[in-house]
């Protein structure tokens, strides 16, 4: 049941884009077209899950053991960047088809704040390894959901009569803000769910 609460919490209530405000640059940059948004979303799911799976053991087996917690941020950035490079090479060799479809998005995510943010959140919230993986995956799913929703809206915005000063990124940001407001409607759902579980 905790997993369900983690998933619902990460996807809807504390959506990494709309509630935590992490990863806003691809949210604007890759939401103009549905195809790009879907490709970016899949790449984020892939990288976020893998990055958390690598950073978690580093924190719990190296940092806590040697008292190096203060190196968390810089190490995670380095590790995630190396990991993405490695994954890119691996995909190119092993699964060229997947590389072709995710290829141009992978370098974009290398230093994405959403990836680093989720890895650090997992540590802060004291999740177990499995919980971390579930949290990372569902955060990325939440990212993808928000991105695809915005792409759908922006594709329609293109043919709408938008006032000239607001065209392009401006209307995109306004739309993103309205989406965030809408997602606030989910806040408190996790509390009720917790209460339900405890009963």
């Amino acid at each position: 049941m905790e997993y369900v609460i983690i998933v619902i919490g990460a996807v809807l209530i504390k959506n990494i884009l709309l509630a935590e405000y992490l990863g806003c640059c691809p949210f604007m940059g890759t939401s103009k077209k549905m195809n790009t948004a879907v490709g970016m979303g899949l790449a984020v799911i892939f990288v976020l899950t893998a990055a958390t799976a690598v950073t978690y053991p580093i924190h719990h087996h190296i940092f806590t053991r040697f008292g190096l917690e203060y190196l968390q941020t810089i190490t995670f950035i380095l590790v995630i960047a190396a990991l993405v490079q490695f994954v890119e090479m691996f995909l190119k060799k092993a699964i060229p088809a997947l590389y072709q479809s995710l290829g141009i998005f992978l370098p974009l995510i290398t230093t994405n704040c959403a990836v680093l943010g989720v890895a650090i959140l997992c540590i802060r919230r004291d999740y177990s390894f499995i919980e971390s993986i579930v949290f990372a995956f569902s955060s990325a799913a939440g990212f993808t959901l928000a991105l695809v929703l915005l792409a759908g809206i922006r594709e329609r915005l293109i043919i709408s009569d938008v006032p000239k000063p607001l065209q392009g990124t401006a209307i995109g940001l306004i739309t993103g803000g309205l989406m965030a407001l809408a997602f606030f409607g989910f806040s408190g759902v996790d509390g009720s769910l917790n209460a339900l579980v405890q009963q």
């Binding site: 380095l78 090479m89 043919i159």
Partner: protein, 688 residues
């Protein structure tokens, strides 16, 4: 703490670095460096105009040799040259293309069936009865083309019509794909020269009725704007003889002019003459973009209106033409038949000079059959020979020194054959003689041929067996005599070596239909035809497949059926009669120009390896085209006419160097151009 941090990060960096180094070896994928180089050279717009999924896919195709170096439509010549350098190939400059629509009346001017107030996109608007305009091929004007253009080359103007910027347009074709009305097309001077108007584009009544299809509203608009050179350029895309046409054209366009419904037709031809005279007074020729040499060398037999047209457009397309003219000067009927009052020799000379300047060679006082033959032309390196002896030499057969020499090797008119036999100097016939005729005379000739030594005679008729005369219908008796009769058959093409005929392609006769029919190639030595005129033929050399090295000795040739480009097909036999569309109608100069232009279309398709097919949905050939039968809100205005000079009494045709009918001056021309209603299919300029 500092030391721990440094050591830890150093270690981490080393571990990551070594792991990545090993990984890059383990997971190494070989990539063609030329692909990367070409990808860098390409513009990276990923417009898809080349037909590949993005620039890297195109680069891979170029590197593998599956696509030409000039396939990038977006980058222009600079990119082509860069790619050519990487690939080590020489590249030629490509003719610029640009996207265009034919719609000229915007949303507020055109008749509409409802007023649209929905999503601002053509695709959305088109869902409601195909858009708000009454005209089915009218521009919606909501700019779907503007949104897809990667190069900022399209904008919607104040009149709600797309404006294409030729400086920026790279002809990637994105807007062509995006337009829900399918009214954007890529166009270039070549496409316009060999093109014909179809029902899918907007044409004015005058444009459709012009035999050669000059963009009449286009050049009249340029007269209004004062861009006279641009006007001349528009005319020359369809008619290389504007000085001549402006003087002697019967102007069927003026009969079709919508102004006739109000007052008098616009003086379309006088305006053409004004532009042509303007060009003549500037002394500089306005010539369209010329393609690079294609490597073809062509010979045009006959320097009349048709031959000049063919040569001009062949030169324009880079096919290096040479005109061979039997008379001492070029011009044909224009020079030797039409009165000097109507075409002063100076005007004609100026017109011909302009055609020669385009890159046309001319050899005068050279008669085919006397001074040169088909074989000698092929030996001189010409790969295509076009016979355009048109209106003048209606029989196209010459008799030097009592014998008979034909343009078409080993082909004789039945009349000559019989006359020479009577004279006691019979034609030497080969082993297999083919007689193209349906009459009783065919049998007499067939028997003569047998007497003269032919082993086999075949009578070919396009009629069915039931329509043949009784004598020819008795096949069994005739085949005993060595005479074969083939009904419902035509000769569709000829093949030969140097100056002799070797084979003919027999096809089932089909009067109109352009579907392929069964054909059979048969060895033939002599052909005798009954019809009074031989068709205009185009001979092209073919590679000798059996003995590729023997081309030096004798050239193999075959005829090209350029008449397949004719609308409504015409008859499919090369020897069928003029009524069946096998010979050009030379009743007016503009009709000769049309046939010249169509011959060039056939040759261009033949050179580019496309099958020669007729144009579908031709606007000039259908009555099923949208038009209007009455006009409203058009003010009456008087036609500007040039005064006709009358010879004074007592003098004999005495206007010296000047012409019988002078042209309009500039102010009169502009006034006349203002009368134009700038018609489209159903739109026309209404008074406010």
């Amino acid at each position: 703490m500092l030391i721990t941090t440094t050591v830890f990060l150093l270690l981490l960096g080393m571990v990551a670095g070594i792991a990545l180094a090993i990984a890059s070896r383990v997971f190494y994928v070989w990539e063609d460096p030329t692909v990367l180089e070409i990808t860098d050279a390409l513009p990276g717009a990923n417009c898809g105009g080349c037909g590949f999924a993005g620039c890297s896919a195109a680069a891979a195709a170029i590197a593998e040799g599956q696509a030409p170096c000039d396939m990038c439509v977006a980058g222009g010549f600079e990119v082509t040259r860069a790619i050519g350098k990487i690939m080590g190939q020489a590249v030629g400059e490509k003719e610029p293309e640009i996207a265009m629509t034919t719609c000229n009346f915007g949303l507020y001017e055109a008749d509409s069936i409802y007023s649209y107030n929905g999503a601002s996109d053509c695709n959305a608007a088109v869902m409601l009865y195909g858009g708000s305009k009454l005209c089915p091929i009218g521009c919606i004007g909501l700019g779907s083309c503007v949104k897809v253009c990667q190069f900022g080359a399209v904008a919607i103007g104040d009149d709600m019509l797309p404006v294409f910027n030729p400086e920026r347009c790279v002809a990637c074709g994105a807007c062509v794909e995006a337009c829900p009305k399918d009214i954007i097309s890529l166009t270039s001077a070549t496409i316009r020269i060999i093109g014909e108007y179809t029902t899918e584009e907007c044409t004015a009544p005058c444009q459709r009725s012009c035999p050669t299809g000059i963009d009449i509203p286009g050049y009249i608009r340029e007269v209004q704007n004062g861009n006279f050179e641009e006007g001349i350029r528009i005319i020359k895309e369809k008619c290389p003889l504007p000085l001549i046409c402006g003087r002697i054209c019967p102007a069927p366009c003026e009969l079709a002019c919508r102004r006739n419904l109000v007052d008098d037709a616009v003086g379309i031809n006088s305006l053409k003459r004004f532009l042509a005279d303007y060009e003549m007074t500037t002394g500089k020729y306005v010539n369209p973009y010329k393609c690079v040499d294609s490597g073809h060398k062509t010979a045009v037999i006959g320097g009349g209106a048709e031959g000049l047209t063919v040569a001009y457009y062949l030169a324009r397309l880079g096919h290096q033409p040479t005109i061979f003219e039997a008379k001492p000067k070029l011009g044909g009927i224009l020079r030797y038949v039409i009165s000097e009052d109507r075409i002063p020799p100076g005007v004609l000379d100026h017109e011909i000079e302009g055609i020669l300047e385009m890159g046309v060679e001319a050899q005068t006082s050279k008669t085919m059959g006397l001074d040169f033959t088909l074989g000698s032309l092929f030996d001189d390196g010409y790969d295509t020979i076009i016979v355009t002896t048109g209106g003048f030499d209606s029989r196209k057969i010459l008799r030097p020194g009592g014998g008979v020499a034909a343009h078409v090797p080993d082909t004789f008119l039945m009349l000559d054959f019989l006359a020479l036999e009577t004279l006691g100097k019979p034609v030497e016939v080969g082993e297999h003689v083919v007689i193209v005729d349906s009459g009783k005379m065919a049998l007499d000739v067939a028997r003569s041929c047998r007497r003269l030594g032919a082993k086999k005679v075949t009578i070919v008729s396009n009629r069915s067996i039931d329509e043949l005369p009784e004598e020819l219908a008795e096949r069994d008796a005739l085949s005993a005599e060595g005479i074969d009769v083939r009904s419902s058959t035509v000769i569709a093409a000829l093949e030969g070596v140097s100056d002799s005929l070797t084979r003919a392609v027999f096809e089932e006769h089909r009067p109109r239909d352009n579907e392929p029919v069964q054909s059979e190639t048969i060895e033939v030595d002599t052909i005798i035809v009954a019809s009074g005129r031989l068709p205009e033929l185009v001979f092209t050399s073919v590679a000798n497949e059996e003995q590729p090295d023997s081309n030096q000795e004798a050239c193999l040739w075959q005829t090209v059926d350029i008449f397949r480009t004719l609308p409504r097909g015409g008859d499919n036999g090369v020897f069928s009669t003029p009524e069946k569309g096998r010979v050009s109608d030379s009743s007016a100069v503009v009709k000769s120009i049309l046939s010249g232009r169509r011959i060039v279309r056939g040759i261009q398709m033949c050179f580019s390896g496309e099958p020669i097919t007729p144009v579908a949905h031709l606007a000039a050939e259908t009555d099923d085209i949208l038009t209007v039968t009455e006009v409203q809100q058009v003010d009456v205005s008087e036609r500007q006419n040039a005064p006709i000079r009358v010879a004074e009494a007592g003098t004999e045709n005495n206007w010296g160097q000047s012409e019988a009918i002078p042209g309009l001056d500039e102010s009169a021309s502009r006034r006349e151009a203002e009368r134009c209603l700038a018609c489209g299919l159903i739109c026309y300029k209404k008074a406010m």
